[in-house]
């Protein structure tokens, strides 16, 4: 999936350079495609260009989700419908929404640097202080930290990590991990091998199943609907 996104982004970069005579500009993101409309261009011109560009590249985009960024314009309902029509007639793209420069997500201005392969979504980024522990935590040892905790080693049974932020274990987590201890329900616990005695995120507690084998791939734990869920970290 990510590979596909990167292709779009690369393609967009090359297009930006060579074909800037167009009044619409395509940008690939992880979430799909955003089409930017040139501020100075007239609406009819944009519709024409859009139709042409879509026909050229429809196969490439497939059924991605698309947002159309109309910049400072205030479109009437009729104009919005015409945009949607052009899209539907010339591609299989799914219109996810129309945005203006005012409603544009903050990341739109990010990642415009050359050579960037995919746009980073700011809302997926979390900033905060972290501590890196470059050794194995053994039984009876515990780390309490008002931020993220990163362990380069194992966390053995009987050891404990309590973090206000996220917990990352580059090793096997067998002890107790408590992420988001001050109530951050978006906190997660990641480990190369996740086999904790007990996991806590915010105020949700779960314990290891009584019979469980050690996974041999990285996993992460997060809260979903008041329960702690475990999922594989997709490294592809």
């Amino acid at each position: 999936m990510l590979v596909f996104d990167e292709n779009i982004a690369e393609w967009v970069t090359s297009v930006e350079e060579s074909m800037s005579k167009y009044t619409v500009e395509f940008k690939g993101t992880k979430e799909g495609v955003t089409i930017y409309c040139q501020e100075s261009a007239g609406f009819e011109e944009i519709l024409l260009d859009l139709a042409a560009r879509l026909r050229q590249r429809a196969v490439f985009f497939g059924q991605s989700k698309v947002r159309i960024d109309v910049g400072g314009r205030q479109l009437t309902e009729a104009e919005q419908e015409r945009l949607a029509d052009v899209l539907a007639q010339n591609s299989k793209l799914v219109l996810a929404g129309v945005q203006t420069s005012a409603t544009r997500p903050a990341e739109a201005s990010l990642a415009r640097r050359r050579g960037e392969t995919a746009e980073l979504k700011l809302e997926n980024c979390k900033e905060g202080r972290s501590i890196v522990i470059k050794r194995t935590l053994r039984s009876g040892q515990s780390v309490h930290y008002p931020g993220n905790v990163i362990v380069l080693g194992d966390v053995n049974p009987g050891a404990e990590i309590v973090a206000e932020g996220d917990i990352f274990v580059y090793g096997t987590l067998r002890g107790i991990a408590h992420a988001g201890r001050s109530g951050d329900r978006s906190a997660s616990v990641v480990a190369l091998r996740l086999a904790p005695t007990q996991l806590r995120i915010a105020s949700v507690i779960s314990r290891a199943p009584d019979e469980s084998s050690l996974p041999n791939q990285p996993e992460y734990a997060y809260i979903s609907e008041d329960r702690i869920m475990i999922a594989a970290v997709n490294t592809k």
């Binding site: 039984s139 009876g140 049974p157 009987g158």
Partner: protein, 266 residues
Amino acid sequence: MGAVIVITSGKGGVGKTTTTANLGVGLAMLGEKVVLIDADIGLRNLDVVMGLENRIVYDLVDVVEGNCRPKQALIRDKRYDTLFLLPAAQTRDKNAVTPEQMKKLCAELKEEYDYILVDCPAGIEQGFRNAIAGAERALIVTTPEVSAVRDADRIIGLLEAADLGDPKLIINRLRPDMVKRGDMMDIEDILEILAIDLIGVIPDDEKIIISTNRGEPVVANDNGSLSGQAYRNIVRRVRGESVPFLQLYKNSSIFSRLKKIMGLSG
């Protein structure tokens, strides 16, 4: 200049005293001058295992309190004349000795002896702190049980904190039949958690109990027992030799892994 080695475990009853006695006798059999210190004050039994109980006059507390010189308190072994025991006091408690006193005593003894083996009491309190105070090397004894391994892990952490790094692991009372059935932790499972070097694996063996009751450590018995052989191998590894591991059960992958860990492969 000798080496001071503490034999410790965290959990009680896993074989510290048995190991101290066997390593002491084994080292003395190879001509080393050895002192065994029973640091388990109030619960002494190294003297019983060595069959020397009836010869005790002075003990560890007498030495640190200055009631006698260290040499006066040392009991020479019945069979090996380079082997000595410094017994624990039975009627005092662990607070009768301080870590500083132990440090001083060990420093003094290693001037004259090749190996000072300290039999550590169970637990992580004062007795443990005394026992490790003068040591520069540590052997950790565990049995293949989850609780014993957990305590060994705790001890390794405490030793690290005390700057007593690179301890070696002895796995005691392994039962190959149970491991094969999947009813006992495997060597590999234990090493995966503790992640320290293995220096020996001793099978569960009734000969140990018999020899302990007789006050004649199994290491000296030439009766073909696997446990005796296992202890003799550990003795040689303690002296710095590399000795292949005993094949306690057939599982080539485990033993090739062990050899890798010990750097003995190839």
